[in-house]
Symmetry: C2
Subunit: 712 residues, 2 copies
Amino acid sequence: MNPLEKLINPVSIAVVGASSNPLKMATLHLLSIMKDGYKGRIYVIHPKEASVFGLKTYKSPLDLPEAVDCAFFVIPAHNIPETLKDFGTIGTKRAIIISAGFKEIGKEGKLLEDKLKSTAGINGIRFLGPNCMGIVNTEISLNTTIMEYIDRPGSLGFATQSGTYITQTLRYLKNHGIRLSKAVSVGNEADISIIDVLEYLANDEQTKAIALYIEGIRDIQRFLDVAITITPKKPIIAQYVGGSQAGARAGSSHTGAMAGPDYIYEGLFKQAGIIRVHSIEELFFHGYMLATQPRLKGNRVGIITNSGGPATSMANSCEKEGFIVPTFSVELQSKIKPLIPPHAQAGNPVDITFNLDLDVLTITIPELAIQSGEVDALCIHGAYRRGFVEAVYPHIREILNIQNPEDIINMFPSDLHTPGTIPQKHGIPLVMSSFYDYQDDFTKAMQDHDVLVFDAPEKAAKALASLLRYKEIINRLPYEPITLPESNPEAKAIILEAKKNNQKALDEYMAKRLLSLYGIPIPDERLIEDEKQLDGIVTSMRYPIVMKACHPDIMHKTEKGLVILPVKDSIEAKQAFQTIQNRAGYAIPVLAYPMVEGKREFMVGAVNNKGFAQSVLFGLGGIYTEVIQDATFRIAPLTQRDAYEMLNDIKAKTLLGKFRNMDEVDKDILAQLIVIVSVLPVLHPEIAEIDCNPVIISGNKPVVVDALIVIE
Amino acid sequence: MNPLEKLINPVSIAVVGASSNPLKMATLHLLSIMKDGYKGRIYVIHPKEASVFGLKTYKSPLDLPEAVDCAFFVIPAHNIPETLKDFGTIGTKRAIIISAGFKEIGKEGKLLEDKLKSTAGINGIRFLGPNCMGIVNTEISLNTTIMEYIDRPGSLGFATQSGTYITQTLRYLKNHGIRLSKAVSVGNEADISIIDVLEYLANDEQTKAIALYIEGIRDIQRFLDVAITITPKKPIIAQYVGGSQAGARAGSSHTGAMAGPDYIYEGLFKQAGIIRVHSIEELFFHGYMLATQPRLKGNRVGIITNSGGPATSMANSCEKEGFIVPTFSVELQSKIKPLIPPHAQAGNPVDITFNLDLDVLTITIPELAIQSGEVDALCIHGAYRRGFVEAVYPHIREILNIQNPEDIINMFPSDLHTPGTIPQKHGIPLVMSSFYDYQDDFTKAMQDHDVLVFDAPEKAAKALASLLRYKEIINRLPYEPITLPESNPEAKAIILEAKKNNQKALDEYMAKRLLSLYGIPIPDERLIEDEKQLDGIVTSMRYPIVMKACHPDIMHKTEKGLVILPVKDSIEAKQAFQTIQNRAGYAIPVLAYPMVEGKREFMVGAVNNKGFAQSVLFGLGGIYTEVIQDATFRIAPLTQRDAYEMLNDIKAKTLLGKFRNMDEVDKDILAQLIVIVSVLPVLHPEIAEIDCNPVIISGNKPVVVDALIVIE
């Protein structure tokens, strides 16, 4: 059973730390639980006060009349383990620990957190926090935060590594018509993690989309395994803020989160099918779009406005986000034209120009567009009523001899109900923008129907695009679990031998030999270990060849002149061998292989970031590796699908197709190469890093021309 | 004199089209002029009504008692020229034409617009519009739009190609504490253009920063010339929405704007020193930051919050935008620590955790940080008062037996004045975020002091970064006007000869010859015009060489096998010559030059987009041209500064430095090459296009290895 199950749906809660002082945080938590509509039983543990706000208090958990479902702590950190033990004694199995002062403050806090964990473990208690804000479960009107949840239950699930985002934001969400299903502040994740919450929300029927605020994921692999199975069925949207140096430092002192480089999370989200956003605003708004709007069936968007500026800007933003803004058919335009002034535009964007008849803008034309079958989504700008009246009211009030603005508003007999029903009625997503916020009755009415109204046309378009991203995600190749190949005994022997020799890396010959044992294409190469072998080898090569010093300790071979190419015949080969010996200053083996011709160079690599994640890289290789940094990352090991998506995820992907005089690259072989590189560190945990660079496309097939395998 | 001068500061206005019907647009315009505080004389021209809202009406402009400063038209388009003529007769010199139905509706409207222009011209009248919303001049409380301007005068000037953005947005701006100086809706720009407005705002003392909403600039060159001299003194910020197919189409039917590709505007803005944003929200908010906050002196930002999430997110966003978030010194931290709880963070971000003492968050710690000299800017999140009280009020009201929430608010004796004075007092920019909007008294107080409060921490950080962008702009090399070199007579002769032969392009030999006449480095090449010259030339070459068919009509030489390389000696050269003759199928001249070695390939080009702009390109060349599309554009002709900035503006700029075994590129020569390419189409208007690709870096010097010059 998911540990959240009972914690988020408790029939009884005991609050430890609240008193009669309503300005203390602990008390505010209690008051939210008492006053936001929760119907379960609430107990207060307090050493001195006899009652708190009419609730009888208990000196100790041991005095409670029942084993409460959830113990709720807002007392100084060091007092928690002892009281938690008492809850264990009475049979309580879940706790929420709000108090801070644990791992996030350093060594001492870490020790206390360990104690908390072991106390909980011994007593069979699963807990949320510490250093969190608890939960909001709108289904049972339970809100443990210090601010009021003031809206009806909604459909956006939220797991957050910042408690603020379900506290300070509650009114903000209300103002924007964003309604939560369940929200969980995970704090330090000493026990229950954000991944547990993700799993819970995935199975929660009330939750239609899941938003994640992330400062750092501890178990990247589990996160991926969990998320990857959710995203085909339920959208996940995430913000990650730990990717910069400053973000990582701040996150670490916030909840002790272990952040990682931004590119790893970028790859992780893509691999898992998670939509990424870059602000808390987008997290909430786009998340709610995903939770409430019908799935997008195509990428044609109809734009209807009362103004050319927002129309143009929306059209521009929609196209930039991947939508098409098709010119409407003559037939559809002929139906729209009678509804709008002669100089107005019917072609998409439709610009009805200044018009106080909201029905035309928000019902008649939208329905015509939908019925035509020419749009898959709608963007509407400029629907407002009270906002307009209030802007012109001071001007027209005296003239019309009207005292009450309501009378003016009623002069506009707009249907505020029907526009909001369009998405569900027709299965067509709708998004709006207006410069009039929740104080406008039209905006409010749309929000009541789960249609978001953005305060900028570009933001509406961008939010709509999150539905397009999700469409791409559900259209991915089906997910297939990974079956690892068997570990190759000779490869293992190569590594063991190198370790025995205290090498930090395999030499190039051995590295490529190891790769070839797993079927990775390498040049037909020979190692000339000493002068004795020279004659025999150089006379049997296919020229031109490359000759390179080959030793695990030699770095920067090119700069040291230890790579010679092209070597045209056996005479030159013998000279080159001597040159390399002379430049090295000692007898050194030389690797020789026929030159691999090909203008297209890529790189494939894997890094075992111990304790964090094994990552895989695919990108542009050769001299452009550093220059352009056109690379994409994923978490190892990969499936074939992942590898294909990587091929498609670099800017230079054109190079993989038919290009100039070059054939289309054999993507099956290249994808397989990436998959194998990704599994090698799993099969051989001694491998710390693999770099295949360049991987030259020879004809249409990849060949690993240089490789480094670092071991440890 | 700028034509806006009188138009935006009229002492008298005559409104044509307004009536007593307060729900007609024309009347709403009149009501705004009458009721928003304008002290000038207002006249109404109306054929039938004797008076309108107590104003005596005049049947014709000819009946007016004075030559009004500004005639204001909201009548059907086709009636305007005649009435405009009457205004001309009485001596009126300025007009604002609100009416639509001109160029934006197509051919017929275009004719009408031409008539309007000629009528105005004959009568010496300069006018704004048609198809616009007029102006807002807060300095004299003149608002000609249909909605109320409800705030005190501000410092953001605004020129917009959408009238909506100074109409529907007025309340929105008020809610966010953004105050305008002068705003002008330019409509179709039949006469007065957005460039005229830009020039006006540049000289307007009330205006401290200029925001531009752009769907398309008609005279790119003049726009650049004007803007480039403004930006070192006054920030300009712009949104451009015409860069996509849909955006261009929508803009064209909106105001008949002539849009151009996004990359041209991207380059134009960079060249002019204009900060670019991508939403109307950012245009207003970032514009207002630039108008009101002190100039940034460095890039160290201090972050102070009451919550770890926003702290982390702000830190992450600031770093991504180019700021440093330095860990505070031990000394500074030791001053902050006594002010915050033991487990709170003093290191930057400062996270004071839940705390109702706003002064610590918004005064004490900010002043400590500033006094330390360790920050150049401040970001603060989490200051709210009424918002918090209202969120917890329902909970604590009964308990404290308080009827009036005001009594609770007064329990928080925060200083709402001082925080907003920090930026001006210390010369340190300040930006805030809070999830409580203008309904919160703290937010409102900050807005009153011109400190913006964003509803997401990321947005605050991004807005602050616009100050960083402006810092970079004022730190540019000084602007130097261009002195064009003299036109070379031999170059002219080459072009004339080609034109005489009806060539569409110069052949490669002549193209490079022309470039070399202007000092552009090309290979030491020879043209073998026929077999007779073969022997003499091939024996005098420095091998290896490249041999290429050379004829203005032959495209795709490589694909047709008409380029042979490397050619190793004179024997091979003779064979290659024959091979090319055979493959071409007829006698064809062959170009021969020593191979230019170099791994770094760039491209430099210029296109004369007739009637729009001459653009110049610098980017990665060779096979990566299409693959990576790492290129930057500017408007020709360039200064040396422009060319240097282009070198720095490609992703692959590392290639220009010391890189692997390669020397740093001689940037003076490369920049000079770009400058010359940029001026060639100016010196020789017959040149429609120049492509130098690749420009190979040989050693550290650029050589144009292939060139195409299209003529017309």
